[in-house]
Symmetry: C2
Subunit: 221 residues, 2 copies
DNA sequence: TTCATCTCGATACAAAATTATCGATTAACC
DNA sequence: GGTTAATCGATAATTTTGTATCGAGATGAA
């Protein structure tokens, strides 16, 4: 009964299925089997079935799942139908990039305003969203019941801004700064650790190259 | 002896330790215990020790680890000393944001050129990096032995561009497009799935709010 | 010098996630 | 209409990851 009992890896795979299915729908395909999804996305078919099971969607033997039903099930499960308003703080390059993504709205998040400490940015309009001065955040956030805060500020001020957000009623923070935020437990924090990502890449590439070298030059040479 | 036997979660935590340690060093702190790292970063101290163990760094009982040594160990382990040249394709908002990050170079990756299909972008200079036409990619990539390709193009063309990259000798791809690339097994792909991230956030927030509602309004009312 | 205490690091244990197995169900074909 | 073949979904086994335990070593104080 507890809704939180869904494995997080499953949660992370569902959007991937979703985009895959949307592309299938655009091609006009109506049915799809879990095995096929698994093969195309590099996930075991049993895993795919488990993941899809949590959304409540049911497949039929011999024909698989209806693409349309799956899409709707995932949307409902991830709550991508109810759009939540978000404020973005830090209208730099990355912030601008996020404002440019039209697709977030389909993912249940709508950025309704951006904030920046720099006077140069304030007053601008990026992708139709106004950049406001930081001072306006508290009052607006409370009045509009903003639930999501997007943090695209430098690491040095991230903690401080995050605390300010939480103080204004923000319940979830999407953090792009490379630090671990120290916030009350009830605040939901999702970190986009670009440096972790590039770190993994860098390490894997280095190992890969060393193994290539090792096979090309046997140790007993 | 096999270098690939390091758990991937460990790999993802190491950059987080790294940034934490760099901040400690800036503050002038010389020694640090695994327990303290764990507390500050929300990781169990036993986990921290295991993670640090793979880098080869040794701590001393009673005093902990030397901050400087740990930083060097992590840098070496992640191969962040040897800088690898990278090409970025897709000089849109996100691509521009990545070009603006000076910190990647410290993470072993240097973006030496950007490419874009749009004539509007070609010829510009972003953060000192030239935007070149796509046609120049193959020849330049081969001549410069580019190992890393950064993919910040729309989803529709991501597969195609990725194949082109691999054909030009690129060994690792940092993929920001919301699709699963179908490439030879030996190619290293690191996905930055922003939609998965926002999906998890959206879902958790929805569950969180429902649980708040449930406690505020008992089911037997 | 000896003792108490703190921290490391190895080993053992527990939980979670992934992978495999198997019977049940259903559409298509003969 | 019965048989075949393919897929689903539940259960079980394996693997991976994370957590706890415990002895050893080192520091600093008595």
């Amino acid at each position: 009964m507890r809704a939180e009992s869904v494995p997080e890896p499953t949660l992370r795979r569902l959007p991937s299925y979703y985009h895959y299915l949307v592309r299938l729908r655009e091609k006009g395909q109506e049915m799809i089997s879990a095995a096929q999804i698994g093969e195309d996305l590099g996930v075991h078919h049993t895993q795919v079935r488990k993941d899809l099971a949590v959304t409540g969607s049911q497949g039929k033997p011999k024909v698989g799942h209806r693409v349309e039903d799956l899409i709707v099930s995932i949307e409902n499960f991830l709550n991508w139908n109810n759009v939540t308003d978000a404020f973005l703080v830090g209208a730099g390059h990355l912030g601008t990039a996020l404002l440019g993504y039209a697709g977030f709205e389909r993912a249940g998040v709508k950025i309704v305003a951006a904030f920046d400490a720099s006077a140069k940015m304030v007053g601008k309009k990026i992708q139709g969203v106004s950049v406001l001065p930081m001072e306006k955040f508290p009052d607006l956030a409370r009045r509009m019941h903003i639930g999501i805060g997007i943090l695209t500020v430098p690491a040095e001020v991230a903690q401080e801004v995050a605390e300010m957000m939480v103080g204004c009623g923000v319940q979830a923070i999407w953090n792009f700064a490379p630090i671990v935020l120290d916030l009350p437990d009830e605040v939901i924090v999702e970190n986009v650790a670009l440096y972790s990502s590039i770190g993994v890449l860098s390490r894997k590439l280095s190992v890969h190259r060393k193994s290539l070298l090792a096979t090309a030059t046997p140790p007993n040479s």
